[in-house]
Each structure stands twice: as structure tokens, then as C-alpha cells.
């Protein structure tokens, strides 16, 4: 190693700042709220040869941290087969089988040249508002092929040696219900890459390309070293955890995600061999997505490991080909968020079996992509599409957070006043959901209730959710949370979808409502050990009903919290 520890620490901070600044540029200038408000985007710096993640921003969507390397590698391979990479090129694509996640996520990859030779890649990924397919917003719960989910663009050049290719943009725009939003987001991503390139050059000007290159290599080695130390701190052995998806949206049968986790000294094996085979509906994921989800789970468990490829060096994966967790085109993958949330749950559950004291229970575990769409009186199309929140799992040191965001995301929810100003809807409730957190010495955080009334003549409703049958699990003796519950009104009364939390194209009339009750988080530890004062407080605040307090804790009103 030719780089000293102090320069390394300083350069690490500078590089992370570049990636963060790229994130911020896109968040501020993006058009669609999924990027601007929900931060469903990410930026990073990648290896010139392997595409491996060198540095990733801290503010982007966590799941992209692991998956972007596959996207850059896809471009490297495609370029190698078609004349190589050139200065001024920018590649664009959304192929989820190579690049991970789903069709909504468009990736832009830009090579950075230094004195005529390739130094590194920069990449930007963002979730676009609409990319065609059968369902506005692209969460099609009944897709059986990716063609029903949206357009699929393989890696192509958006800029060819610095020249803008309008024909590519024309193709993209023609395939979206919301072309202006697409154009705005695309521009934001280009702005972010341009800024990243300027910053990288300024950094190399300050430190020299040799030093920066050495630093990037060294950071990867340090990350691997830290991960090995973290793994070595766990006891050797194999533990198993199984959890389930409700169904695939096509056939109402549960799908199993099984993990056998082996710790052997400073290495870890994550074996998913006992998981379900590929399914007909859109909850399949590609292998790259599976690896990325495990990375997110491990980073939640070991918070201080850095965001680069070295972290996965001591981890071996066993993911059977053609399983639910490793599908190929054109198997549908639009609902990947639900599957990776369950992957994170099984990692948390497995870790809790070997190190229960510090473990986290499962969070609410579903993205609840709800879409209401229709036409206004003047014929203008509207699509309200949003993800909803739920409770976080309890942990060894306290209760879970009420109404948090998903572990794969740092998204905030749009203000209901912004939604009401933009779309013909009126929220009639926006509240915490009592009794939704799992019981335990530490109680799971509460989920939420959202109730929405339609103000226009009619609309189509789509929902892509999970945890309608299998509740978020507690750990270390803690209880499970409440399941996800969705209801909608029709002329003849209130209904629940046949697939529980997945639904396509239900017609809603003016004045009718939809209601989402989201899961809380699982509990941690034996409920019998929860102090009476804490239970009394839960009852007083309405977090837990008196009936549930008696059932789950054997608690009778009047105990604890004397003087309150």
C-alpha cells in the first residue's frame, strides 16, 4: 500500500461528498415525487474494469447501494462487444435482469476519462414515474411477463462521444404515460453525472490520479477487513430462518424464502437453496437484486461497514438458478420491493437466533404501492402513486419507531396536502394504528391507517402490497405485528381484494373510499418482561387497547403508572 492512513481517511470523505452531492442535485431537480420526495435514486463511483462499487452516496436509496455495480458491469460488457467506451459517452438502460431491481429504475452510466484513458465510471439510477406497461406507475400485480410491466431498454448510448441522441429520447418519451416527467428526471440525472465528473477531476487535480486510484483500491480492502471482523464476532454455526410472501398475485399460494446462514470464522454463507422456485407473478427477483438486498440487511445489522464492494468479499451466496430469487427474462419482477423486504426479514431473523440481545425484529415489510388513476372532467389524465409507511421492529434496546420508512429506503411520504392539491382525492384519516406493533419486552412500532375518498366521478385503483397473511415477525421471544389490511368501498359495501394486498383495476366511484391499515413492527423479547408502567403508558396513549394489553401481557387496568 502506497497511501498513508490519514490521506486515505480524508479522500474517503471527499469521495463520499461527491456521491452525496450528485444525489442532492437529482433530488432537487427531479420531476417525479418518487425521486424528489421519496429519494428513490442513487449515485456512485465504480471501478473502470470490473464495475465494482468504489464509493456510494449516503443519501440515495439503500437497495441501490448493492445493485449498481451490476448495472455498470452490464454496460462494460455491452461496450466491449460494440466498440468500447469513449470519452463523452453516456449509456442508458433499465434491463432488470442485468442491472437488478425493476423496469421503473433507469440507469445512466458515464465513463470518466483522465488524460485520454478511462479512470472510473459514474452512475445514476432513478425511479421514473411511468415506463409504459399495463398499469400506470408500473406496479402491475398480475403481470406474468415483463412485457406487461413496461418498456425494456437494453444498454444503449444516450450520448455518443458527446453527441446527444434525440432518437433515443424520442423512443423513451413515446413509451411513457408521463413524458414530461420522464424528460425532467432524465435531465436531472444528466446534471448529476456532469457535476460528479467535474468534482472527480477537481479531486484528481488536488491529489494526483495515482493517489486517488490507490485510495479507491485501499478503501475496498479496508471494507472487506471490517466485514471479516464483524463476522468473526459472531459465534460459528448454522442457523435457519423462513418467512413467506402472501402470494404472487396470480395464484393465492404462499411463497417461501428460506435462509440457512453459516458463520465460519470470518466468512459467512447465505444459502437460499430451500426457497420457492420462480413464480408466475411479479414477485420474482434477479440474482443481482438478491445479493443487493442481503447487502442492505447486513449493513443495517453492522451499521459502520462502508458502502463499497469489499463488504461482500467475505460473504458467499448460494442462490439456485431459476428460483424465485434468480429469474431471467421475461419473468416479471415489478414487485421486487416486496421480495427484498422479506429477504431482509429472514436475515434479521437469522441474526436474532445467533445474537438475540442486539437484534432487530422485522419491520412492517411491505411497500404498499397504491395507485389511483383516472381522467378529470376536462379529459386530462391523473395518476396518484405513492408508497405508505408502517412500524419498525423493536430492538434489544427499545421499542420500534412508529410510522417509519422501509428498510430498503430513506423515503419520506408526500404531505397529504400536496396530494390533495394535485389529485382529486380527500384523505379522511391519517393516523397511527393501535395494536399493530408486536408485543414484547420491547414493543414493535405502530403502523398507520390511511383512508382516502375519491372526489372525481370515477377512478381505477391498483395496490401492490404484502404481509396480508404473514405478519412481521417478532424476535427473541417477541410477538408478531398486525397484518396488512386493505379495504375498498363499492355500491354493495366494503370489500377486501381476493389476493389480500394485491389488486388491479377496481373501479371506484365518487364518494367511495379505500382504506389501508399497515403492519407495525415485530416485538423483541418476552412480553412478560415488559414493565407494567410501560404497558400502562401504552394503554394511556392508545398505542395498545385495554383488551390487547390483557391478552398479550396479562395486564389489568389500574396497574403501573401510579399518579399519571
Amino acid at each position: 500500500m502506497s497511501i498513508d492512513a490519514v490521506t486515505l481517511a480524508i479522500l474517503k470523505g471527499r469521495l463520499e461528498q461527491i456521491a452525496d452531492e450528485m444525489d442532492a442535485t437529482l433530488f432537487r431537480s427531479a420531476f417525479n415525487p418518487i425521486i424528489a420526495e421519496a429519494h428513490d435514486a442513487s449515485h456512485g463511483i465504480y471501478d473502470a474494469v470490473t464495475g465494482e462499487t468504489l464509493v456510494q452516496g449516503k443519501s440515495g436509496l439503500p437497495i441501490f447501494v448493492g445493485v449498481m455495480a451490476f448495472a455498470v458491469k452490464a454496460v462494460i460488457d455491452k461496450a466491449a462487444a460494440s466498440g468500447g467506451v469513449h470519452e463523452g459517452d453516456v449509456w442508458i438502460f433499465n434491463d432488470p435482469y442485468d442491472g437488478g431491481t425493476h423496469l421503473s429504475d433507469f440507469r445512466l452510466v458515464k465513463p470518466v476519462f483522465r488524460d485520454g484513458s478511462l479512470f472510473c465510471f459514474l452512475a445514476s439510477v432513478g425511479h421514473w414515474h411511468d415506463v409504459g406497461g399495463n398499469v400506470p406507475g408500473n406496479y402491475n400485480p398480475v403481470a406474468t411477463e415483463s412485457f406487461q410491466e413496461g418498456m425494456l431498454i437494453p444498454p444503449v448510448k444516450l450520448y455518443d462521444k458527446g453527441e446527444w441522441r434525440q432518437d433515443i429520447v424520442d423512443i423513451l418519451s413515446a413509451n411513457s404515460r408521463l413524458p414530461l416527467s420522464l424528460y425532467g428526471d432524465l435531465n436531472g440525472q444528466i446534471n448529476a453525472l456532469d457535476l460528479g465528473e467535474r468534482r472527480i477531476h477537481a479531486l484528481i487535480d488536488d491529489y494526483g490520479d495515482g493517489t486517488v486510484a490507490d485510495c479507491l483500491g485501499e478503501l475496498k480492502e479496508r471494507a472487506a477487513q471490517m466485514m471479516r471482523a464483524q463476522i468473526a464476532s459472531l459465534p460459528d454455526g448454522t442457523v435457519s430462518a423462513e418467512d413467506f410472501l402472501d402470494n404472487d398475485g396470480i395464484v393465492d399460494e404462499p411463497l417461501k424464502i428460506a435462509l440457512d446462514m453459516t458463520i465460519d470464522g470470518d466468512r459467512m454463507v447465505l444459502d437460499f437453496s430451500r426457497s420457492s422456485p420462480a413464480c408466475a407473478g411479479p414477485v420474482n427477483i434477479s440474482r443481482s437484486t438478491t445479493i443487493a438486498a442481503c447487502y442492505v440487511a447486513l449493513k443495517h445489522v453492522f451499521g459502520d461497514v462502508p458502502a463499497n464492494a469489499g463488504v461482500l468479499e467475505p460473504v458467499d451466496f448460494r442462490i439456485p438458478e431459476e428460483s424465485l430469487l434468480s429469474v431471467k427474462a421475461p419473468k416479471p419482477v415489478g414487485g421486487y420491493t416486496e421480495t427484498i423486504l422479506r429477504l431482509i426479514d429472514v436475515v434479521f431473523e437469522a441474526v436474532a437466533r445467533i445474537a438475540p440481545d442486539d437484534a432487530m425484529a422485522c419491520a412492517y415489510g411491505t411497500i404498499n404501492a397504491l395507485s389511483l388513476a383516472g381522467h378529470r372532467a376536462n379529459g386530462q389524465r391523473w395518476v396518484m402513486f405513492s408508497f405508505f409507511g408502517g412500524g419498525h421492529g423493536a430492538h434489544g434496546h427499545g421499542d420500534g419507531l412508529n410510522h417509519g420508512n422501509a428498510p430498503i429506503s430513506t423515503a419520506t411520504i408526500p404531505p397529504l396536502e400536496i396530494l390533495e392539491a394535485a389529485y382529486p382525492v380527500c384523505f379522511t384519516q391519517w393516523a397511527l394504528r393501535p395494536d399493530s406493533g408486536g408485543a414484547g419486552e420491547h414493543r414493535g412500532g405502530l403502523g398507520a391507517i390511511y383512508e382516502i375518498e375519491l372526489m372525481e366521478k370515477s377512478a381505477d385503483v391498483f395496490l401492490f402490497g404484502e404481509r396480508g397473511k404473514f405478519a412481521p415477525r417478532g424476535v427473541a421471544g417477541g410477538g408478531d405485528a398486525a397484518v396488512n389490511r386493505f379495504t375498498f368501498q363499492q355500491n354493495d359495501g366494503e370489500h377486501q381484494p381476493p389476493m389480500v394486498s394485491k389488486m388491479i383495476g377496481i373501479k371506484l366511484k365518487q364518494g367511495q373510499k379505500v382504506r389501508l391499515e399497515t403492519p407495525g413492527g415485530g416485538g423483541h423479547g418476552d412480553p412478560g418482561k415488559r414493565p407494567a408502567a410501560a404497558i400502562a403508558r401504552d394503554v394511556r396513549l392508545g398505542y395498545v387497547s385495554p383488551e390487547a394489553a390483557e391478552r398479550d401481557y396479562g395486564f389489568e387496568a389500574g396497574n403501573g403508572e401510579a399518579g399519571q
Binding site: V6, A9, R14, L401, N402, G404, P415, W430, A431, G542
Partner: protein, 686 residues
């Protein structure tokens, strides 16, 4: 006017700083007394008495207060009730569905108002302002009585979409007051008539939560001053850097959330401007944090909102202060991958650095400065300790950093400083380069106790043009009180496409708002050199959710859509570079600010009198480690230096409230106002 004496008072956690300006005599006095915990007004009044025995000679007392900030951070506001739209009692607790940290899911949040104190009434306003369901005053009265009986001292009425039509809120507030006569009843839209329910409710709730605490403090303060014969005005510094009357502060206490730090930035701006520097980056280094603010063209940058703590959002214009966890007490460690870390964990000021000898054994930034000879062990600043323990600091650095990294103690200490400096440099880049400013055009202005040790390194690391060290860095905030302008801001949500806005009506409304605020300023009885009005729109392209701040040349009935479009395109191009032709533009909010400019303070009052040549101020030398080598640095009594004196680095300058390190390759010059200007040797001139 009962007198020509203006007094600035900044109450900090440890000390109360007092700055006395005698306008008639053209003289200043400064004082420092211990803050009186529990009731800050006691130390406040006694501190003034120590400097100005005759209170009737005092015309104005201007105060930067941390009473509000501390009540928020320590959650010691009043028990507050919220009366809200049925179905929405949990908006405050649900936040914007966020979490405190990206990685790890162990965060928690306690709202300042518990769930049983958040009660609902039937009512509903739609997004277009239509009243769908009128509020029944009787139901409000019943809920108000229940809150009162439960023991609440303050109440906030918050209804969904109130920004679009506040009729129901006004009726409800009236109903609350009819059964509960109380000065602490807040309508959310009165505090912030802006779209986004959580941000509006959070701001309004925190306002109500602070009202009883801040009001009673200000009452005690006024009583204390009057009891000593004071007959002038008391003004309070707001987070936006302007001052307000006590009456306004009691209505809008949430505007004092960053009162103290804002005063510091205002002072820095005034000092720098007098010294000929319009572009500065202020650097306030404390025990646990490093706060930076950007001042461009003589104006401090403002932020629309800030979070005092996780989930405690305050949305009112505030001086934009970027804080990172790098202070004198920041702890150095080596992580599991062998990388050196500095902060964000901090030993604070108690137990503080290892060298304080108060029980901490992990090395800090201050310990590194001490080991490298930059701090005088026999002369600790602040006056609490008699001397610092160099050997203990060395031992801690040897054990925790030098050993694991295989470095000498001096190299390890320098590594700690380099990393701390790199973090501070990152914060400066964040407010300058990332906002499109060239750091070479900016001077760093350190205030507080520790900043002046690091400014030289920041000049080198970020490429800043120079550094400006004020004559009394320790009383900067108190000085800021004396020079701050009076300022009031008003925002109102519009939420229409430019094509759909009646621009003449909008222009008239903005002008009328400005007139109303001007009336408030004129009624304050304060003399202004000028009154300025700023008209702004928050705008965006249709489809975006983040706005760009667009400054208008003026308002009034002549405002046209073309004016608005031109101004937006100018602002958008500056922010992002690429315009988006063919996409409609939307006006989200309008903002009006009226600023009463106070007369400039003649900074010549700080000019050194009877200053001496550098050689006469030299008290000795100290060995200082820098860039891997030992240097023999001259040590000087800073306050004795005459204007125009020039000292080449490496050099150390000492005074009661700070130590200044001039790095090798830099030089310091005393300017006509007593400031030290530090620059690179090769670019110095004259």
C-alpha cells in the same frame, strides 16, 4: 429616548456576554459573567449593572437568547394541547415517515405533545379552499375545556388545508378563547400559512410549546431591567438574523430557535463588511460541533426550515447554519478496518478533553492541539482551569491512535488535526462549492473559542482567500445584537400556474403585506437608517416538488406574468444550468421580507489604542509541530499589537478568549479595526 447607550447581551450555556456601545461617546465596553441557570434574567441584569450602573442611561437592550433553543432540546416547554381535524390527531407523531439514521433501525421519537393531549373536532376544508364541513364552536369549546382541565397551559389549533382557507381555524380559536382566556392559543396558519401539514403543525406546536416559557422569561427580564430604572426598549434577535420587539417575540417565540447563533453571524457580517470583506464563511467551533454559515455580498444565506432535533421541524426563515460533529471535544479513534476517525462522538466540555483532567481518557482534537504546542498549557481559555495536562493528552494519543497506526505521538496528533480539518473543510465545501461559490473569493471568519487554531489549515485545504479573526472572538454574538437589523418575514401559499395567477392582484397583495409589516417596524420606536423590502416567489416547473427561490424586482399592480417568468428562468438557470422549455411554471408561495436597517456601527471603536510593535508584544517562543516537523514559533500578546503590524507564520497569538495559530507559509496583519487578516505569504501585498 432615555439614553444613547445600546447594549447587546448573548446568554450562552456557560457565560453571558455583554457588549456596551455608547453612541454619544463612540466607545465600547465588553463584559463576561457566568450565566445563571434556572433564571437567565438574573445574570443578565447583574451583568449589565457591572458595566453600566445607571440603567436610565440605556436606550436599547438587544438580546440573543437560548431560552427557546434549550427548552426545545431539553423538552422543557409547556404542556400543550392540539385541537385538530377529525382523523388527523397523529400528524405530529407520524412526521414525514422518516427515521433518524439511514443504517440501523433503532431510532425513536417522542413528540412534544402526547397523544391524549391531541384532540379532534369535526371540520374539513378542501385543497381549493372550499369549506366542506364548517366547524361547530361548541365542540371546540368542549375539547378546549378538556385540555384545560387536563393541565395544558397552551393550545394550538391546526386544521388540514388551513393554508388555503383559515375560516374554520379562526372560528375555532375564537371558541377556545371564549372558554379559556389565555394568551397562549395559537392558530397554525397564523404562524405559517404554508402548504405541508406536518411542517406547519410542527412549527405551530413548537411555538405554542415555547410561548409560556419564553413569555415568562421575557417578563422577568423586563421587570428586572425596569426595577433598575431602565426605561428603553428590549429587542430580541430572531433566527433570521433580524430583531423583533418583546411583544412580537412573545407571540412568535419559535422564531428565536436559533437566536444566539444568528447573532454571531450578523456580527461577523458587520465586522467583515467594515473591514472590506463582503464574502465570508463564518466558523464557530465549540466543544462538540463546528458551525459554518455563508455570507455572500454582505448578506447571510437563509434556509427555509431546520430540524432542531429528529422530527422537531421548525419552518421559518433562519440563517442557514451547517453543523458537523467536529469540535474541540471530538474524540479520535481507530475503527475495525484500521481507519482513523474523529467525532462525531464528543467529550463536550464536561468531562472534556483528556488534558482537562476531569475523567475522560480518550484523546480529542483539543488534546492534539495541546500536544502539538498550539495551545498554551499554562493559559487555558475560558478561565475555568488553571492549567492543562499535556502528559495525559500525550499518553491518550499514544495509546489510542499512535500505537495502532504505528505513528509517533506528534504524527498521530497531527493526523487527528488533519482529519478534523478535512471534516471542517468538507462543511465549508458544502456551503460554498456545492452552492456554486468559489472559495478563493471568501475569507474564513472564526469566532468562539477554538476556531482560530484551525483557520490556517482551512485556507490551505479549501483554497480560501484569507481569514479574518475579529478582535474579540468570544463576544461576537453580543456584538451582533447591537448591529442586527429589524426584520420580519411573511409567507403565503399561492399554488397556481403562472398563467392562472391574477398577477396584478398578487402584486397588490404582496405590497399590502409589506405595508403592514412596515407599520410594525415603524411602531417599534426604533430609528432606522433605511427600510428595505424583499419580494420573492417560491416557484417550480409543473410536476416538480422542490421550489426555487425567485427574487422579484418589485411588487404592486404592475406585476406581470412575463416579469415572473423572466425572474424564474434566471433563478432556475443559476441553480441547475438547464431550462426546461415548454413546461408550465407554478407559483407555490410568495414571501415578503421587510428589513429596517439599523445605523452602521463604526467598527473603528475596535481600533487598537496605544498599540505596540510586534517585537514589543512578543512574550516568548513555543515549539510547534506542523507538517511533520518542529518549528520554533513566536508567541505574541494579540491585543497589544498596533494596527499595521505584520507577523509571519509560524506564530501563536494569545488573548483571554482565544488562541490564534498562524501556519508556516501564512502571515497575519493587524488591520485598522483591530482584526487580524491571515493570508498566504506569497499573495500578500503592501
Amino acid at each position: 429616548m432615555s439614553g444613547r447607550i445600546v447594549i447587546g447581551v448573548d446568554v450562552g450555556g456557560t457565560f453571558t456576554d455583554i457588549f456596551v456601545l455608547d453612541e454619544a461617546a463612540g466607545t465600547v465596553k465588553t463584559g463576561k459573567v457566568p450565566s445563571t441557570r434556572g433564571d437567565q434574567s438574573k445574570g443578565f441584569v447583574e451583568g449589565i449593572g457591572g458595566l453600566v450602573p445607571d440603567f436610565s442611561a440605556i436606550g436599547t437592550v438587544v438580546h440573543g437568547t437560548t431560552v427557546g433553543t434549550n427548552a426545545l432540546l431539553e423538552r422543557k416547554g409547556a404542556r400543550t394541547g392540539i385541537i385538530t381535524t377529525a382523523g388527523f390527531r397523529d400528524v405530529l407523531e407520524m412526521r414525514r415517515r422518516d427515521r433518524p439514521t439511514t443504517w440501523g433501525l433503532a431510532g425513536s421519537f417522542e413528540p412534544v405533545v402526547e397523544r391524549p393531549d391531541r384532540v379532534e373536532v369535526d371540520e374539513r376544508v378542501l385543497a381549493d379552499g372550499t369549506v366542506r364541513l364548517a366547524v361547530d364552536p361548541e365542540s371546540v369549546r368542549a375539547q378546549a375545556m378538556a385540555l384545560r382541565e387536563a393541565g395544558c397551559e397552551a393550545a394550538c389549533v391546526f386544521f388540514i388545508n388551513g393554508y388555503a382557507n383559515d375560516t374554520n381555524e379562526r372560528v375555532a380559536v375564537e371558541a377556545v378563547r371564549s372558554v379559556w382566556p389565555n394568551a397562549h392559543v395559537t392558530a397554525a396558519t397564523e404562524i405559517l400559512p404554508e402548504i405541508r401539514e406536518f411542517e406547519r403543525l410542527s412549527t405551530a406546536t413548537l411555538n405554542a410549546y415555547l410561548q409560556p416559557v419564553v413569555s415568562s422569561y421575557l417578563d422577568r427580564l423586563e421587570t428586572g431591567l425596569k426595577g433598575r430604572g431602565f426605561g428603553g426598549d428590549v429587542l430580541i434577535v430572531q433566527s433570521n438574523g433580524g430583531v423583533m420587539s418583546v411583544e412580537t417575540a412573545k407571540r412568535y417565540p419559535v422564531r428565536t430557535a436559533l437566536s444566539g447563533p444568528a447573532a454571531g453571524v450578523i456580527a461577523a457580517t458587520a465586522i467583515a463588511s467594515a473591514a472590506g470583506f463582503d464574502n465570508i464563511i463564518t466558523c464557530d467551533m465549540g466543544g462538540t460541533s463546528f458551525d459554518v454559515s455563508l455570507v455572500a455580498g454582505g448578506e447571510a444565506a437563509l434556509a427555509a426550515q431546520t430540524a432542531i432535533d429528529f422530527g422537531m421541524v421548525v419552518r421559518t426563515p433562519m440563517i442557514e447554519i451547517t453543523t458537523i460533529g467536529a469540535g474541540g471535544g471530538s474524540i479520535a479513534s481507530v475503527d475495525k478496518s484500521g481507519l482513523l476517525q474523529v467525532g462525531p462522538e464528543s467529550a463536550g466540555s464536561d468531562p472534556g478533553p483528556v488534558c482537562y483532567g476531569l475523567g475522560n481518557d480518550r484523546p480529542t482534537v483539543t488534546d492534539a492541539n495541546l500536544v502539538l504546542g498550539r495551545i498554551n498549557a499554562a493559559r487555558p481559555i475560558g478561565g475555568k482551569l488553571d492549567r492543562l495536562d499535556v502528559e495525559a493528552a500525550r499518553a491518550a494519543i499514544a495509546r489510542v491512535v499512535a500505537g495502532p497506526l504505528g505513528l509517533s505521538v506528534e504524527d498521530a496528533a497531527e493526523a487527528i488535526l488533519k482529519l478534523a480539518n478535512a471534516k471542517m473543510a468538507g462543511a465549508i465545501r458544502l456551503v460554498s462549492i456545492e452552492k456554486g461559490h468559489d472559495p478563493a473569493r471568501f475569507a474564513a471568519m472564526p469566532f468562539g473559542g477554538g476556531g482560530a487554531l484551525h483557520t490556517g489549515a482551512l485556507i490551505k485545504e479549501v483554497g480560501l482567500g484569507s481569514a479574518l479573526v475579529p478582535r474579540f472572538p468570544g463576544v461576537t454574538s453580543a456584538l451582533g445584537c447591537v448591529v442586527a437589523d429589524m426584520r420580519h418575514d411573511r409567507v403565503q401559499t399561492v399554488n397556481r400556474l403562472v398563467d392562472q395567477v391574477d398577477t396584478a392582484a398578487l402584486g397588490r397583495e404582496m405590497e399590502a403585506e409589506a405595508g403592514a409589516i412596515r407599520g410594525v417596524l415603524e411602531a417599534s420606536g426604533i430609528a432606522f437608517a433605511a427600510i428595505d423590502t424583499v419580494y420573492e416567489l417560491d416557484m417550480l416547473y409543473l410536476g416538480q416538488t422542490h421550489t426555487v427561490s425567485v427574487t422579484l424586482d418589485g411588487a404592486g399592480p404592475d406585476l406581470t406574468a412575463a416579469d415572473i417568468r423572466t425572474a424564474f428562468e434566471r433563478a432556475y438557470r443559476a441553480a441547475y444550468g438547464r431550462l426546461l422549455d415548454g413546461i408550465a411554471m407554478r407559483v407555490m408561495n410568495y414571501r415578503v421580507a421587510v428589513i429596517g436597517r439599523r445605523p452602521d456601527l463604526d467598527m473603528a471603536v475596535f481600533a487598537p489604542e496605544n498599540g505596540k510593535p510586534a517585537e514589543a508584544c512578543r512574550t516568548g517562543t513555543r515549539t510547534v509541530w506542523c507538517d511533520g516537523a518542529a518549528h520554533e514559533a513566536g508567541v505574541y500578546e494579540r491585543l497589544d499589537l498596533a494596527a499595521g503590524e505584520r507577523i509571519a507564520g509560524p506564530a501563536l497569538m494569545e488573548q483571554a478568549d482565544t488562541t490564534i495559530f498562524v501556519d508556516p507559509g501564512l502571515e497575519a496583519v493587524v488591520d485598522a479595526f483591530g482584526n487580524l487578516v491571515i493570508r498566504r505569504m506569497e499573495v500578500s501585498h503592501g
